[in-house]
């Protein structure tokens, strides 16, 4: 597993031997992973491999059975989700239906004065390509628009880390291709480090600096897309990527 951690010199996020258990079932089994400043890392795996649980554990939504989560060397394992500054974006159905677009995007900005909040919301909607959508009810948005709004909402409070849990998998193929580029650009333009969970190899390879392959709760290998293809660490990885 050492190879998985070793790739980053001064990691901002370090996941250190993390396990997540649901009763008897070990969903995440001793995973270690590191993220550098501004880096986008994808975790690739089939459904049920534990990648979403890993993400939720990093977010603080799942208690750890073992291991630690470190931010800039400081253990944040005991810090509740709302104090970590890690924002999570889900697959679908995450927008607050009782708030309009502006209410959703501005949700994490309640400490800002109204004027600044409005400016920030406008800025973000511009960034995700939905300028002027502030007063739309979220029930009127298409699937792709909803995910753009969710992305804007996630980035609005300038998170230290962005966690994306299959943000595109509920969309159709064409839209997915369109958005995967956009997300990559937008996230990089803000310089936010991101951990991106997906089951889609194309998506992961198109978006991430490095990709981790996960199976049955264990992280098999983390490396650049090219290195993974050229030099799979195990037969399982090779099989998964074939």
């Amino acid at each position: 597993m050492d190879c998985a951690v070793g790739a980053v010199d001064r990691p901002v996020l370090a996941v250190d031997g993390v396990s997540v258990a649901y009763g008897e079932l070990l969903a995440v089994d001793g995973v270690s992973l590191a993220l550098g400043a501004g880096e986008v890392v994808a975790v690739l795996g089939a459904s049920g491999c534990g990648k979403s649980s890993l993400l939720r554990a990093v977010a603080g939504l799942e208690p750890l059975a073992a291991g630690r989560v470190l931010w800039e060397g400081e253990d944040v394992s005991g810090v509740p989700a709302h104090r970590r500054g890690f924002v999570m974006m889900f697959q679908d159905g995450q927008l607050f239906p009782h708030l309009n677009v502006a209410g959703n995007v501005g949700y994490g900005l309640w400490r800002l004065p109204r004027r600044e909040r409005e400016a920030r919301v406008a800025e973000l909607l511009e960034l995700v390509g939905l300028p002027g959508y502030q007063r739309r009810p979220v029930s009127e948005l298409s699937g792709g628009q909803a995910q753009r709004v969710a992305l804007a909402r996630s980035l609005a409070p300038r998170p230290r880390l962005l966690l994306l849990d299959e943000p595109l998998s509920a969309l159709d193929r064409r839209l997915r291709r369109q958005l995967v580029g956009a997300i990559g650009e937008i996230v990089r333009s803000t310089g936010t480090p991101a951990l991106y969970v997906t089951h889609d190899q194309d998506e992961a390879f198109a978006l991430a600096d490095r990709v981790g392959v996960m199976d049955a709760g264990r992280l098999l290998q983390v490396d650049s897309p090219q290195a993974l293809l050229d030099d799979p660490a195990s037969p399982e990885v090779a099989e998964f990527l074939s």
Partner: protein, 536 residues
């Protein structure tokens, strides 16, 4: 941690004002002044009369439940699945009998059963009709709430496979509704098995329930051991009904894919069977007895007039207050009771809406859920007498305080508030809370910005239920010692027991019914138009 903290206030309230008084009174039955009297309990439980009454209770409740389900399913379809003007008002109207005091219902039914229908008076059928009258809306609401949100794709699929409308109903829709039908049936059974006033009035001497027998033993004979034995029998029946209701509910939540919002379809000619059955029930069973109240309130001498209504503001000899004063007392008490019931009910339902990961946690929640339903199924006599022998030491000597009235009413309203709010809490996607948390919102802010706005959508109905129940509550109130500040049901009862005030009593009954209906209608109409009111 948070759920535990939130359940502390409701549990304390429940323990002090329900569990302790009831347990003490039942305990007094077993351990009298002369030591252990379990022998007496055994005696009552082995008497033929007791078993005849237990059989009668179960038989009546089972028959009424079957009837309520058969009539309620078409009603649920018409009132919750079909779109037509006035459906929400009818929904509110069918809920009115459920919260009316039995003293009013008893008079209404007996008025209806004199004259051409007299052959029904005092029969099993009269009791059955009254039980269905009370509980029709329980089935309609429980089934309707699920039906409204049922995903139609399975039915569409069945249609494309060549199934007729009838076949789709029997093979796809009904099986999907089964859990709600089971839950509604279990609740109806619970209410029927513990019915008191109306069975006492309509069953006359032949038909009774365990509840009426507890009253007889405790109040007429002061035979506490017998009452205690019967209370335990009743608790067993109630617990069984609750267990079945919970199982059914859990299944309905597991198995079904539901839409967030109600999907109503326009009314078509093919709906005539539902329309006929429901119109028959609403007019013949629900409106007719209430109409007979109205008729007798305007019958003055040999003609008709509003004289009785003019007297509502006049002093009645021997009654400390006018009817309007009593309306004021009732509104104030109900307001306080509603506040208590909502404050506690919101917390209880929130805690119950959680899905703990551990089996132990789930079991604890199940127990909590059942416990807060118990006030619906425990005799008012037991609670009222229990208050007398427990709340008798400072600082809790509330026995002679007026405050005990709203507390007792809140206790009765609490289960309904919990049942009404629970579906609302459960409709909140846990991911919204999680997304909010990762956006930096602490538990308090999540509650205020995510949960509370949602809660408000279900609140109208909960307030309606709580307020209407408190307005009509009579049983527990009549067993409390209270300063002479009578509520409207108490005044109705007192007017009825005097020789020259029948018309005035009827006018007061009509006022009470109209108030109740108005409160339920307001509760029904507040909130988003497509919300399906549920009694989960």
């Amino acid at each position: 941690m948070a759920p535990l903290t939130l359940s502390l206030a409701p549990i304390a309230f429940f323990a002090v004002f329900f569990a302790w008084p009831v347990a003490t009174l039942v305990g007094r039955g077993f351990w009298g002044e002369d030591g252990f009297t379990g022998q007496a309990v055994v005696e009552v439980l082995s008497s033929a009369r007791t078993w005849r009454i237990i059989g009668q209770t179960l038989g009546q409740a089972a028959a009424a439940t079957v009837l309520a389900v058969l009539l309620g399913i078409p009603g649920a379809c018409l009132l919750y699945r079909r779109k037509w003007p006035g459906r929400r008002l009818v929904r509110a109207f069918v809920a009115v009998p459920f919260v009316l005091p039995s003293v009013v219902v008893g008079v209404a039914f007996r008025s209806l059963l004199s004259g051409p229908l007299e052959f029904l008076d005092g029969t099993f059928w009269a009791v059955l009709a009254a039980l269905v009258f009370f509980n029709y809306s329980v089935v309609v609401r429980t089934v309707g709430a699920l039906w409204a949100r049922l995903d139609t794709r399975a039915q569409d699929a069945a249609r494309t496979l060549g199934a007729t409308g009838r076949r789709v109903f029997w093979t796809v829709t009904l099986p999907a509704l089964a859990p709600a039908v089971a839950a509604g049936a279990a609740l109806t059974f619970l209410f029927c098995a513990t019915a008191f006033g109306v069975v006492l009035v309509l069953g006359q001497t032949r038909y009774g329930t365990v509840e009426t027998e507890i009253y007889f033993q405790a109040v007429t004979l002061l035979d506490l051991p017998a009452a205690a034995g019967l209370s335990i029998v009743q608790l067993a029946i109630v617990a069984a009904a609750l267990l079945i209701a919970n199982r059914a509910r859990a299944r309905s939540e597991r198995a079904l894919r539901l839409r967030g919002d109600a999907a109503e379809q326009p009314l078509t000619g093919r709906d005539w069977p539902q329309v006929v059955v429901t119109a028959g029930v609403v007019v013949g069973l629900l409106a007719a007895p209430l109409g007979s109240l109205l008729w007798r309130s305007v019958a003055v001498g040999d003609g008709f007039g509003l004289g009785n209504y003019a007297r509502l503001g006049e002093a009645v000899p021997g009654l400390a207050v006018t009817v309007w004063d009593a309306v004021g007392n009732s509104l104030l008490t109900a307001l306080l009771a509603t506040a208590i019931a909502l404050f506690l009910g919101a917390q209880v339902s929130y805690v119950l809406s959680r899905r703990p990961a551990s089996a132990l946690g789930r079991r604890a929640l199940g127990a909590l859920d059942a416990a807060f339903m118990l006030p619906l199924g425990v005799s008012a006599v037991t609670v009222g007498f229990g208050f007398l022998i427990t709340l008798n030491r400072p600082p809790l000597d509330l026995r002679t305080s007026w405050v005990l009235v709203p507390i007792a009413q809140a206790l009765v309203a609490l289960p309904l508030v919990v049942r009404t709010l629970l579906p609302t809490w459960r409709a909140i996607d846990p991911r919204w809370r999680q997304a909010a948390a990762t956006l930096g919102a602490g538990p308090g802010r999540v509650l205020a910005t995510i949960d509370a706005p949602y809660l408000l959508r279900g609140l109208g109905l909960a307030v309606g239920f709580a307020f209407a129940t408190s307005l009509g509550e009579f049983g527990a109130t009549s067993f409390l010692a209270r300063p002479d500040r009578p509520t409207l049901p108490v005044v109705v009862y007192r007017l009825l027991s005097r020789p020259d005030n029948f018309g005035l009593a009827m006018a007061a009954c009509v006022v009470l019914t109209v108030l109740t209906a108005a409160v339920m209608a307001a509760g029904e109409l507040v909130g988003p138009p497509n919300r399906a009111g549920a009694l989960s």
